[in-house]
């Protein structure tokens, strides 16, 4: 078990900054540019970590708590999540609820640290982020419920266990395909990707997630970036496992499969970002309500 915890941590800590790099590279290739090197996020993190902490006198400890909790939560959530063929290191009944609300905790602290600065822009960003994620949460829960009904269990390890491959060949294939689409939307929303939020925007009025971390700088901002990359990896691992439920039994091969799936997901996100325009703000809740209903429908299909 200790070996598994270490393995999960290593995968998470070492691989996570690669995914934003892959996304940026895909977007650059689509735009006809060469783009930054694949490892640019690692260089960015190293650069930010060498800087010094600077805090405004108006902020309190909450300001630093945001990035720290944002970093710790994916580390904990990763222990509950089976990474490809590698089972979860911690598993107990009902851990899927903990998994969902760990990210809720991180969101609360990010929003609180944004509000702590007293900036009105950051307040606006916090409001939007919280609104969108409270609409995305039912989708995630419904999707997990669909999996739970199929597996007849309440632990993530069983939900995404070896039996998953068999369920793709049974009558549940349709609802699994539906929730895979819904989970992709959740991954895009939760990681503030383009149809819902633009990670590269430079206008405070249109930012959602980025505006909340405007006042963080140096190592604190590095923590925010690192935490965001890890969140992408953990939520991505859920989707990759759902779509690619193969299991070889060999640790290295399983690991390779997971990495290939994650890189594929990052490329897919890059393609979506390059080909789609950002949705208008009032359209976002509509789309999210739509995915919630779609996943609810998938649940009806399973329960039938």
């Amino acid at each position: 078990m200790l070996g598994r915890i270490v393995l999960h941590l290593l995968v998470l800590l070492i691989l996570s900054p690669l995914l934003p790099g892959v996304i940026a590279k895909t977007k650059a290739l689509f735009a006809g540019r060469i783009g930054a090197p694949l490892l640019q996020p690692y260089y960015d993190l190293a650069r930010l970590m060498r800087k010094e902490f600077i805090f405004s006198r108006t902020t309190t400890w909450v300001f630093l708590a945001g990035p720290v909790v944002g970093l710790v939560v994916p580390l904990l959530a990763a222990q509950l999540m089976p990474f490809g063929g590698l089972g979860a290191s911690l598993s107990f009944r009902g851990d899927l609820v903990l998994f969902v609300y760990l990210f809720g905790l991180a969101r609360f602290f990010t929003a609180a640290s944004a509000l702590d600065t007293g900036s009105s822009f950051e307040g606006m960003g916090a409001v939007r982020e919280v609104t969108f994620s409270c609409l995305a949460e039912p989708t995630l829960l419904f999707a997990l419920l669909v999996l739970a009904c199929g597996a007849d269990s309440l632990t993530l390890n069983d939900l995404l266990g070896p039996a998953l491959a068999g369920r793709w060949h049974s009558g549940q294939a349709a609802s699994l395909a539906l929730i895979a689409v819904c989970l992709f939307v959740v991954v895009l929303v939760e990681n503030s990707r383009i149809p819902f939020d633009d990670p590269n925007t430079h206008l405070e009025l249109t930012m959602i997630h980025e505006v909340m971390v405007l006042d963080h700088s140096g190592p604190a901002f590095g923590l925010v970036l690192y935490g965001a990359a890890m969140k992408l990896l953990v939520l991505g691992a859920l989707l990759v496992r759902l779509v690619l439920p193969l299991q070889t039994g060999h640790v290295l091969l399983d690991l390779l499969l997971l990495v290939a799936g994650l890189v594929g997901l990052a490329v897919l996100i890059g393609v979506v970002e390059s080909t789609m325009a950002r949705l208008r703000l009032p359209r976002v809740p509509q789309v999210l309500v739509g995915t919630t209903l779609l996943s609810a429908f998938a649940l009806v299909l399973v329960l039938r």
Partner: protein, 214 residues
């Protein structure tokens, strides 16, 4: 009757298109979605009953009418009256979508209580047909523009067609009636188009259509 995987996938895509039409404000996208639904329906008899002359004729007829002809007419009508969006539905899009899902859930949960032949139990055909019919009704009731109402009518007819596929071997007449209804829809659309051109409406809101009569 054994429903193949292909048939189930087709029926599922029919439901997804229903949801899309209920939740989308863009008329062109809605018309395209209904066209795709027509094509999916054209494949359905072949997928359910296998390759035979009857299902081929049925499929080809459906493809021509629902996949090509009627959507083409609607797209032309839309070009002539220059509208792109359903601006102010009677019920909001999210609410309509919610009602649509509620209908789908009810249809799926209640379909097995209906006194059907034993072979039709547990299948997807009956619930999908019910969902499509009621989604069509919902679209008819909640939208203001005459064109969207025609779309609702088409969706309703598509639902009836799915029901007819269930019985097409025993009751070919029923299917013929469905095709006739298609023709009727075509004429219905043509009537609206001609009306608009003749009277030079600036809008095609149905509220104004009734106001003109008074």
């Amino acid at each position: 009757m054994s429903e193949s995987l292909l048939a189930n996938l087709l029926l599922l895509s029919v439901i997804l298109i229903n949801f899309f039409c209920l939740g989308s404000a863009r008329l062109v996208a809605c018309i395209r979605a209904i066209a795709v639904q027509g094509v999916v329906l054209a494949l359905l008899p072949v997928a359910v009953h296998g390759l035979c002359a009857h299902s081929l004729v049925l499929g080809l007829g459906t493809l021509c009418f629902k996949g090509v002809l009627i959507p083409g007419l609607l797209l032309r009508a839309i070009r002539e009256v220059r509208i792109r969006r359903e601006m102010e539905p009677f019920v909001g899009f999210a609410t309509t979508l919610f009602l649509g899902t509620l209908i789908a859930a009810c249809a799926f949960l209640c379909a097995d209580w209906l006194p059907l032949a034993a072979a039709h139990h547990e299948g997807l055909l009956v619930p999908v047909a019910l969902t499509t019919i009621f989604s069509g009704f919902l679209l008819l009731m909640t939208r203001r523009k005459a064109l969207t109402q025609v779309l609702g009518y088409l969706m309703l007819e598509n639902g009836i067609f799915i029901f007819a596929v269930l019985l097409s071997e025993a009751l070919p007449l029923m299917v013929e009636a469905g095709m006739l209804l298609d023709l009727l829809v075509g004429i219905f659309i043509m009537g609206i188009v001609i009306n608009q051109i003749r009277r030079e409406f600036s809008t095609i809101s149905t509220e104004q259509l009734t106001a003109l009569k008074e």
